[in-house]
Point group: C2
Chain length 248, copies 2
């Protein structure tokens, strides 16, 4: 269940694991103090809805731990995922009354929340936050456009390998491990969620995973634990330019 947690369970901003990447990254001591005054933490279990499209946007905030997804549902039920939110990512749009899409936890997630109104006031008063928000929005825009290429032009196999490479790289970077040779990771989402992300059906996702396994590009233990023996070979199937330039 949702719970509003006392501040003391969590580290102070100075010790926060997302301190150097989140919306507060470029805040000075004073700005951080003012943010700290209005922040509060909330947790959501996997599968719990965090915000509903069309609802009033009561709070905004950062993902501290866990993972969530943004998605939109068409009237006939088709679902398209629009974003994957991992630690340090920001939820909500200051300056907008209503939520633009559904937000749902796909793993147990902890958020560092700010009520929207006080946060908006703070953004206007402290340029550092606005500037950081601008940079993060521009990053999100680049991610969204990269994803548009995938959705509009890539084959099912390319889509799957892109997603696997994305998760693999992100996991490796979180663990500060080298991007080479065999790397293993836990897929943070179900086959269905993968399909929602990639614009595919669950059956196609499953078939492509099987095909990649048979081709030796991935190994699986259970359905979530993936091993990539050779990342370069996998990335050769993404349809992207894999020359060193575009590694994030």
């Amino acid at each position: 269940m949702t719970r509003i947690t006392s501040r003391s369970e969590f580290p102070s901003c100075a010790d926060c694991n997302i301190r150097h990447r989140a919306v507060c990254a470029t805040c000075d001591t004073d700005e951080l103090r003012r943010l700290e005054e209005i922040k509060y933490y909330r947790s959501f279990d996997a599968g719990q809805q965090i915000m509903f499209e069309g609802d009033e946007m009561v709070f905004v905030g950062s993902v501290v731990t866990g993972a969530a997804k943004l998605s939109r549902t068409l009237p006939d039920g088709r679902i398209q995922m629009l974003g994957l939110l991992l630690p340090s990512d920001f939820i909500g749009r200051p300056g907008r009354e209503q939520v633009g899409y559904d937000v749902e936890a796909i793993q147990k997630v902890t958020l560092c929340c700010f009520r929207r109104k006080p946060f908006e006031t703070l953004v206007e008063a402290t340029p550092h936050i606005g500037q950081r928000l601008l940079m993060m929005s521009l990053d999100e825009l680049e991610v969204a456009r990269e994803w548009m290429v995938l959705l509009g032009r890539k084959t099912a196999r390319e889509k799957i390998t892109c997603l696997l490479a994305l998760i693999a790289r992100r996991t490796a970077s979180l663990q500060l491990r080298p991007l080479k040779d065999s790397l293993s990771f836990e897929m943070p989402m179900s086959r269905e969620t993968m399909g929602e992300y990639l614009g595919l059906t669950i059956e196609t996702v499953s078939r492509q995973m099987t095909a990649l396994r048979k081709d030796g590009l991935i190994k699986m233990e259970g359905s979530r634990t993936i091993t990539i023996p050779d990342l370069a070979s996998l990335m050769a199937e993404t349809g992207d330019d894999t020359s060193a330039a575009r590694l994030s």
Copy 2:
């Protein structure tokens, strides 16, 4: 050809047709003066490339008149359009050395340009520009995500009707005409560009246009002049929720 035009051919910022919508919309007189000092105009003919992916980003700027497109090309030549730039839209990302995608004029276009470095300095010094840029980026992000739904989940027919409805509404709003009954407009792009935008081949675009014509949802004179006898009927084919809420 590209030409760098003397300032005098163009209106001063105070008289500019995009004054109230572009990145300068919320600038005060002093800020506007500083922008005016570093601005210059450039024009590009239809089909001319404005920026190339990977090139150094020499300038940023606003579309004053005409239309341009953002796109990315995969190594094997597949093209996905990522954005349609119309008057008041901003080109370029401050804080980034290189251009992230190709920018090409699809009609004769006039830009109000700023060299990137001085503009970045100005953004840091004048909060109004940064704030405006943030709002515009968030708008772009919403458009991109809306487009992700289209690319990932919609059928060819839905894609086409979405695009037609988009252009129709935008044209009507520019002309300040009511959004009802029969409305006519000029398609600002070729069938090929439509396909690049929608993640379709040119043949599929053409076939769907023919189908819509045979179904009486659109009329055509030549291939670019479109008449929509009843916008509501067309929008019923977009797959979207057409309850009054989501009209922009």
